[in-house]
């Protein structure tokens, strides 16, 4: 007879809910950037709708963690897992919000051609989705190396944002008629850059889970 069978089962369930939440936000990021490339306003709107699922999952996981704390009274590593999961879902929920914001901007995009092919933004979207995937994977599997990779990848994200910003500023300076779209694209880039920051937060929690030390507490 193994003891703590139910605790292990509940922790396993918590893992699967977190994986699901992460999977949905990844799809939201991919869809929102695809919506921008193809100017598919319906797809953009659907990303905003999907955000409700993420919000519901956050509440569900929060309840699950509360229940776990009350019912299973975890200690040591188990306790850290549950309390950091509560932190992580806040970050993933914010990622969902940012992806929804990108979708919403696409939905409101003017009925005209793009002023710029969004290759860099596409790269930012791919990177954001990969970063969130890897950070949650690092959290769930206590993979410190994976968490460090995400933290390093954020430098590329920041560099891409700066490059997009400079390019758009130049465009606006050259032709003020591009300003409307340029501001929208800049906001999209900023949202994606913020997603990178949230993925870094998740990775910091993954590292905390492994090392017991959080950067912010040092």
């Amino acid at each position: 007879m193994t003891t703590r069978k139910y605790l292990d089962e509940e922790l396993g369930e918590l893992h699967s809910r977190l994986t699901k939440m992460c999977g949905i936000t990844e799809s939201m990021i991919n869809d929102s950037v695809r919506a921008l490339k193809t100017l598919d306003r319906t797809l953009g709107a659907s990303v905003s709708e999907t955000d409700k699922e993420v919000d519901e999952l956050e509440l569900e996981i929060e309840k699950k963690c509360m229940r776990l704390l009350l019912r299973q009274q975890p200690v040591a590593k188990d306790l850290i897992k549950v309390t950091t999961a509560l932190k992580v879902i806040t970050d993933i929920e914010r990622i969902g919000d940012q992806a929804a914001d990108v979708g919403e901007i696409v939905r409101q995009f003017p009925n005209e051609e793009l002023i710029r092919e969004p290759e860099r933004i596409q790269r930012m979207g791919d990177l954001a989705a990969a970063m969130i995937h890897q950070s949650v994977e690092a959290f769930l599997n206590e993979n410190r190396g994976g968490a460090d990779m995400v933290i390093r990848a954020d430098d590329e994200m920041d560099a891409l944002f700066l490059a997009v910003k400079e390019d758009l500023v130049k465009l606006m300076a050259a032709d003020s008629k591009t300003a409307d779209q340029a501001v929208m694209l800049l906001m999209i880039a900023k949202y994606l850059e913020k997603i990178g920051d949230y993925a870094v937060n998740v990775s910091e929690w993954a590292k905390y889970l492994v090392t017991g030390v959080h950067k912010e507490y040092q």
Partner: protein, 271 residues
């Protein structure tokens, strides 16, 4: 049902209890007196089938007293008087024609200190079925195996069935007592602080066992350990000075109790 009757040979006594409904035990307006002292005051409580109901409260609050009324163990206490109505399996257990051995067969009990009989593991578990008239060896073997499996200790004990139960560890003895209670397939299992004499590992095993058992039996447990109540019970009742102060879903009680007395007790601010 047929299986139970065959095993115990107690058909006439059993068919008065009906556990087909959702409620296993209902306590209605129960007052209990030990002589002049009123130990329980107007208790109303419903125990649902296949749930674990925990009773908590400071010493002397009446929780063990109420537990003992559910299989009429208080009958043995001189000067004890019960008013109100308690139904088990739809039957008024304080009615004059209640068959006490049939009641206690349906409502088993496990106590604070493990109390195996000074006999072999096998004979401990076979004791009650034999009392109910089961004589066939193969049927007794079957009951002993089934009961020990239900108590998750068959693998530990299958090669030690003829050894004295007194040689087992405290935790094993307590699980053996649970197996012994299960031998007559009770519908309700009363547990009076069943882990207070055990170490944390044995406690954990019994708690997990309760989770498994609730598929077959309804459990009412008295515990001094509030964390234990939070861990294993579906419903919790908080008792104070003979009154049931609050009764409801365990999660709700431990996250947002309705009564300030409950809040103070479960947060360790009094008691």
């Amino acid at each position: 049902m047929k299986d139970r009757i065959t095993e115990t040979g107690a058909k006439n006594r059993l068919d008065r209890f009906d556990f087909t409904g959702e409620t296993a035990v209902r306590v209605e307006g129960v007052d209990l007196y030990y002589g002049d002292f009123q130990a329980l005051k107007k208790i109303d409580m419903t125990v649902k089938k296949h749930e674990i109901t925990a009773m908590i409260g400071p010493s002397g609050c009446g929780k063990s007293t109420l537990l003992k009324t559910l299989n009429r163990m208080n009958d043995l206490v001189e000067g004890c008087r019960v008013e109100g109505k308690i139904t088990v399996g739809g039957r008024d257990i304080y009615a004059k024609d209640t068959d006490l051995s049939a009641l206690r067969k349906n409502v088993g009990m496990v106590f604070q200190k493990p109390n195996p009989f000074p006999m072999s593991v096998y004979d401990n578990v076979a004791y009650a079925p034999r009392t109910f008239g089961v004589k066939k060896k193969d049927l007794l073997d079957e009951i002993v195996e089934r009961s020990l499996k239900q108590a998750a200790m068959w693998d530990e004990l299958k090669d030690r069935l003829k050894k004295s139960a007194l040689g087992l560890s405290g935790g094993q003895q307590q699980r053996l007592c649970i197996a012994r209670a299960l031998s007559v397939r009770p519908q309700v299992l009363l547990m009076d602080e069943p882990t207070s004499a055990l170490d944390p590992i044995s406690t954990g095993k019994i708690e997990e066992l309760c989770e498994e058992l609730k598929q077959d039996v309804t459990i009412v447990i008295v515990t001094h350990n509030m964390q234990q109540a939070a861990r294993i019970s579906d419903k919790t009742g908080f008792f104070l000075l003979g009154e049931l102060i609050e009764f409801g879903e365990t999660e709700e009680m431990f996250t947002s109790p309705k009564r300030p007395e409950t809040e103070r007790y479960i947060t360790g601010r009094f008691g």
